[in-house]
Symmetry: C2
Subunit: 457 residues, 2 copies
Amino acid sequence: MTATGLTLLSRAAEPRSVSRLAASAAAVDGGVMSNQEVLAWLDGRRRAHAHRVERVPFAALRDWAFDERTGDLRHASGRFFSVHGLRVRSDFGPVPAWSQPIIRQPEIGLLGIALRDFDGVPHLLMQAKPEPGNVNGVQLSPTVQATKSNYSRVHGGSAVPYLRLFRRSDPRSVVADVLQSEQGSWFLHKCNRNMIVEVGPEAEAGEDFAWLTLGQVNALLRQDNLVNMDARTVLSCLPDWRRDGMRRALHADQEIRSWITRRRAEHEVEVVPVGLAEVAGWHRTADEVAHERALYFKVVAVDVSSDRREVPSWTQPLLEPYGTAVVALFVRRVDGVPHALLRARAEPGFHNVVELGPTVQCMPENYAHLPAAGQPPYLAEALIRAEGAGFDVVLSEEGGRFRNAQSRYLIIEVGDDFPDPPDDFCWVTPCQLDELLRYNHQVNVQARTLVAALRTL
Amino acid sequence: MTATGLTLLSRAAEPRSVSRLAASAAAVDGGVMSNQEVLAWLDGRRRAHAHRVERVPFAALRDWAFDERTGDLRHASGRFFSVHGLRVRSDFGPVPAWSQPIIRQPEIGLLGIALRDFDGVPHLLMQAKPEPGNVNGVQLSPTVQATKSNYSRVHGGSAVPYLRLFRRSDPRSVVADVLQSEQGSWFLHKCNRNMIVEVGPEAEAGEDFAWLTLGQVNALLRQDNLVNMDARTVLSCLPDWRRDGMRRALHADQEIRSWITRRRAEHEVEVVPVGLAEVAGWHRTADEVAHERALYFKVVAVDVSSDRREVPSWTQPLLEPYGTAVVALFVRRVDGVPHALLRARAEPGFHNVVELGPTVQCMPENYAHLPAAGQPPYLAEALIRAEGAGFDVVLSEEGGRFRNAQSRYLIIEVGDDFPDPPDDFCWVTPCQLDELLRYNHQVNVQARTLVAALRTL
């Protein structure tokens, strides 16, 4: 990397806009677009991107097929993603061994939000983007949301707008740039590059794009199924604009790092890739690959089309969960400093065995057949306390891979008398999370949504 | 994790001994044992641990065998490690595709050094440990150097001394605790937990152990083949005791993290496990698995025995490189602040594609058949400048897996007029390395040795 001359910088130097994020968060309306204009723009984009998504049998998939030998579901080009099987032995959670289908997508995609000053207030360039798995078509997405197949044009489609802002960015204008994992129960080793880059006035919003203040985005995040997963994970990587004076915590940073290391070293998770046809307890019909007890999720196929000639139609598989997940974060104030109860979770698809997840993260139906001791810790308590939650919003997981995958995200304040948690759990301050989020694979995607949510309170 | 009451700590809180590391580094003699006593102790331990290591044909291995189907070399118990094949496609380095044998050892081992105050000066509990692959039998090792097979007693051997100090440590006495990779060209996804723990007066040195000051260990590190690889990697995870006033750098911390992320996202490395018998260009004889051009390394078998009845004899495979590696770090001062030239290296066995390595890291013989453009960058320059190097020591890689694996470690000071390096390289300060070393898989094992070496200058 080329140094700009031989000038020493402060090691903590950041792009100028970072110091003005608080002003952007305080701007809850106005800016480039009023809130009313934003809603009208989103409505317009919904109409413009109206499309049909229909369940079809696997036989109707074009360019996708099950491998004759392994049963794996793949694209003819070998790109995009594929569905394989996984045999798992794990000491995390109540079930010691199982098999399951899993999505493999080895390429590292790019999720990026451009940041530009308008009258000294940083605005985020957000995109109205349709995805076939979304319950409601269009959601608010990052400036760029591209797989490597996208941006290397495997589709033969058009170039990804704004990609150049991220791939050719000046190193000193990069606010955040970190690899983060996605759902470790559904993806094997999936990760995306999460970027936030400060740009100049040459970046203008196309018709699918809008410059919004952080205050506006935060308000939209409190609406059901509006800010998509990719936007949420990038938002969580923004430096926390409320970090002043948060130099104290129940546990020193080194203690938290040591706790994560210990959990990584001590959890035993063995993951063996197998053919999709070999996955015990799952069966394939003409329409779906599903579990014999209709639990967890199923793999289905969809056909996506619209009435507009210029929009190509296509078919693809999607993973469709049964039920709505419950994803809750317990928060407690100690001497005025908020602490979130994180769990060191071992998910089979994680690169480094363990990442920090929310207090509760599960699909309750999947545990219904297990005895009380097999229920996820704090689930019952989260549901009881959900009524008074500070944040209670249903949000979608990535609609390009998951169909109707919704989670109820909760932030629940608990009292000082909260009993000491088991060793899998730890109280971590938002500033400590901020620090962990600068390094790859420390905080899982569900917890990242809750980090973004926490900053809206 | 249990909080000690509800008291907030400074997030930067560290065990008390960390503030006294400088005193320990300044104590170059004396302490618990004088330097003369240390040398006498090491001589005594060499005599006590005298053993024979003989090359034997594979057929003489006990409990190890080649799998009939895959050709993989495994232990009958399924534990310890195994030798497989790997097919690699990589855009790092001059060779775009190759196959090679690789060691697989999925368990996370523990490397730990205990730290104890004597008269207010922290001392490190070092071990005199024999390994079959060492050129000289006994080397100076960490307090604990144990695979999970070791400490879960798969050997049926005796308990690992001092293990309890690390596995049952008080979270607030942990100085460092991080997962670090090992040789990514020889190991697939190998990593060890590197720990430094402050202990009390209850920890006493057994006959294979000695309490040494950091100053004494640093002096020993400047002797050929004395401080082993496991000790060096743990030492590199000690907080840098010279970190005061080092808040400036050519690149802000965020720039360095972004550079690593970019390299991870952009390097294309595809690694496909294959059977050892399928590795193209390599052949197996009765005595070795070797490359057809006698390059890189070979897999051999050894029989280890001694004349003392109480010491069990055993056989095992070892990986034996051809030649001595050159591992060099270029260092340049900018405005009084030292900067090391690190390279973002993609090695096939890395968990996260890329880690920071030294300026030069190679076995020159392996490149002799390639044209000038295929030679490793800065190799020629390192060899020319080696004469005046500030650090020039031949050190061994881990003797439990590698036979006669020696590397010439060099630290070479370069001038202010050093030309801008290619994009794979970046100038990083020792304090920035210190920060990166708190997180797993950022700095490779060769660079970690040089971090420890840099602190002896």
